[in-house]
């Protein structure tokens, strides 16, 4: 039953992805003017323009171009060639994606426990000072411009206190060549690997120090959303009859919250956690740019600024795939936690169309 549900959901997301490729392909066509000229820039030689025109198959009819694009994408995993970096986009992704994964994971490791904790506390101790403080933290989290927060963090922790570095991924003093020595392309993991294999812990500590500020800055928004959602879901549940029954049975408040309420409040919270995770793993545009973190978001911003359209196209597609994947994953986890949803979805399909 679960496998079938999962398969159905998976298949239903394929048209979405196809639509995305078509939209991105169409968007490229909608750019006014000669796309090859636009991409080459004003000072390009005619040969360069012709090269771009050739490499994008601009001389063919549009449906052939689209077919070719899809064919390359699906069967050859060819994401195109970046004009700005003059490298295959797949190569660029192979270093940018691990960097983004490292940062996003670190941010989620801060955001999820903190958001859950604040949300539960403020729901349980409703209208107390705890509730007010937690709500204020959450409100600040959604309202804080992340680029401003990043600047303030840098100013305070790097400049005034000198505790943490402002940007980049690694100190120059660490003897480490990422191109040849990196196993995971995630320096914290590499550092752990180095340390455990007896090559010293320098890399690990340096990598962690560089990770702290961007991760903290990035964690604020998901933390705030998780906190707000947890609070309202818990408040909903705590008003239900079965909670009153549990209380009447004389169970301790701790046990009620943990065993009875948390399980039932989990669904919307899990959904929003996966949505937020999807947003982070798709590349944190502002945070990565601020802290010079060489991930997907930074790559995307650079490519937009320099009109590197193949990169924009493939970057967006990748981000889209990540979102769809996390949405799907969230749906499946929720379906697994609550079997009622699967059933209603199956019934809904009967008379829905």
């Amino acid at each position: 039953m679960f496998v079938r549900h999962a398969l159905q959901r998976f298949i239903s997301s394929i048209p979405v992805l196809l639509l995305l490729t078509l939209a991105l392909f169409g968007a490229l066509k909608l750019i006014p003017g000669d796309i090859a000229l636009v991409m080459a820039g004003e000072r390009a030689t005619p040969e360069r323009v012709e090269y771009i025109r050739e490499s994008l198959h601009l001389n063919d009819p549009w449906w052939m171009q689209y077919g070719l694009y899809l064919k390359k994408l699906i069967f050859e995993a060819d994401l195109g060639h970046s004009l700005l970096h003059d490298q295959p986009i797949l190569t660029l992704f192979s270093t940018a994606v691990p960097a983004t994964i490292e940062l996003a994971t670190a941010a989620l490791l801060i955001a999820i426990p903190l958001g859950l904790f604040l949300g539960v506390v403020s729901a349980v101790a409703r209208r107390s000072w705890w509730d007010r403080i937690a709500s204020l933290v959450a409100l600040t989290g959604v309202s804080m411009p992340i680029f401003w927060l990043a600047l303030l963090l840098m100013w305070f922790f790097s400049l005034n206190l000198g505790w943490l570095p402002t940007s980049g991924r690694l100190s120059d003093e660490v003897l480490f060549d990422p191109a040849t020595e990196s196993v995971f392309r995630m320096y914290v993991l590499d550092g752990l690997f180095f340390g455990l294999s007896g090559r010293g812990w320098d890399l690990f500590f340096s990598a962690c120090r560089y990770l702290v500020l961007p991760a903290v800055a990035l964690s604020t928004i998901p933390m705030a959303h998780i906190c707000r959602m947890t609070r309202s879901a818990m408040l909903d549940v705590l008003q239900q009859d079965y909670i009153r029954t549990a209380r009447a049975k004389g169970l301790s408040k701790f046990k009620i919250v943990l065993k009875h309420a948390a399980r039932n409040a989990a669904l919307p919270v899990v959904t929003i956690m996966f949505l937020q995770a999807g947003a982070l793993f798709g590349g944190a545009v502002i945070t990565e740019t601020m802290f010079a973190w060489p991930g997907l978001g930074k790559l995307l911003v650079e490519s937009i600024g320099s009109r590197d359209f193949p990169m924009v196209q493939s970057g967006t597609l990748f981000v889209g795939v990540v979102f769809v994947f996390f949405n799907l994953l969230g749906d499946l986890v929720v379906g697994w936690l609550d079997p009622r949803i699967k059933q209603s979805a199956a019934q809904g399909r009967g008379h829905g169309a």
Binding site: V16, L19, L20, A27, L28, L30, I31, L139, T140, V142, S143, M144, P145, I146, F147, W148, L151, L152, M154, W155, L159, S232, L235, D236, Q239, L275, G278, A279, G282, V285, I286, T289, L300, V301, S303, I304, G305, F309, V312, T316, V319, G320, F323, V324, N327, G352, A353
Partner: protein, 293 residues
């Protein structure tokens, strides 16, 4: 049978009882007034450079500062106070106008889709759900990539990124209203589709729309500033809060005030709008928890 109280009366009642909403409105109004009256309040032109005598003057409360430049000056000797005030005009507009654009596209779509139902509704909402899965800043970013940069394109991009939100809300509200007697009555009377959608349905779903619009105002402002900060929206030297932060980033070792004031302006506006949005949701949205329970 009692008539449904009008949206504005509900809002007024909520605001009268809720002190948070009052202070939020006060701050927002104050910021709008400051922005509108910028030419009379600021003593300097926000664009005039003064590289010889006025570089990096600190704000008034620090040594070397004066009320001539209450927020100090930046690396080119421009008055930060004047730039924050004039920047407010653009930044606030970049929050507000995209909401209008988003509502302009999303609301008719959602109303039509919800009212007509059927296959087209299914299809439209499918597409809409895909769009909603993306965070709006990313949608706006992609649109900017294809539209090109500049203030107008930024506004359109951010605005279009909000259309799915408005479409979803108005669709689900329209779905709830379409079989009510007043709608059926209007239809039986031979009212045109346009009339049913905008004269009958729209006023009755304003509740939800006002809440969404307030929240969207906050996040659209944040996103426009963010895109300008990344250099993809408003370009320096035009005074805009996000663009000012981008410019000041290089000087932040010497002059923290070039960053703190525009950033604080964004934060203050956004947090006030969010506070107001929360209060309005409690008052207007039937699904949210009622106060006092």
């Amino acid at each position: 049978m009692t008539a449904k109280p009008s949206v504005w009366r509900l809002i007024w009642a909520e605001v009268r009882a809720n002190r948070t909403a009052q202070s939020a409105i006060a701050i927002i109004l104050l910021l709008i007034i400051f922005a509108l009256c910028a030419p009379w309040l600021a003593r300097h032109d926000p664009l005039v450079l003064n590289l010889e005598t006025a570089r990096f003057i600190p704000p008034f409360f620090m040594e070397g500062g004066s009320f001539l430049h209450p927020f100090g000056t930046d690396s080119s000797g421009r008055d930060v106070f004047a730039r924050v005030l004039f920047g407010g005009r653009i930044s606030l507009a970049l929050g507000f106008l995209p909401v209008l654009i988003g509502a302009g596209f999303g609301v008719p779509m959602g109303l039509l889709s919800g009212y007509l139902g059927g296959r087209s509704d299914q299809f439209l909402m499918r597409v809409n759900d895909c769009l909603l899965a993306f965070p709006s800043i990313l949608l706006a970013l992609i649109l900017v990539a294809f539209l090109g940069q500049g203030i107008v394109n930024l506004m359109i991009a951010v605005g279009l990124a909000y259309a799915p939100t408005f479409a979803r809300v108005s669709r689900s509200s329209a779905l709830g209203e379409r079989n009510k007697e007043y709608v059926l009555g209007a239809f039986a009377n031979g009212a045109s589709l346009q009339r049913i959608l905008f004269r009958h349905l729209l006023p009755n779903i304003l509740n939800s729309l006002v809440v969404v619009a307030t929240m969207s105002f906050a996040s659209a402002l944040l996103e426009s500033a963010g895109l300008s900060f990344l250099g993809l929206g408003v370009r320096p030297p035009t005074p805009e809060w996000g663009a000012m932060l981008a410019e000041g980033k290089a000087d932040f070792y010497q002059a923290w005030w070039t960053l703190v004031f525009p950033g604080a302006a964004i934060f203050l506006t956004v947090i006030s709008l969010n506070m107001l949005g929360d209060a309005l949701r409690d008052a207007l949205d039937p699904r949210s928890e009622r106060r006092g329970t």
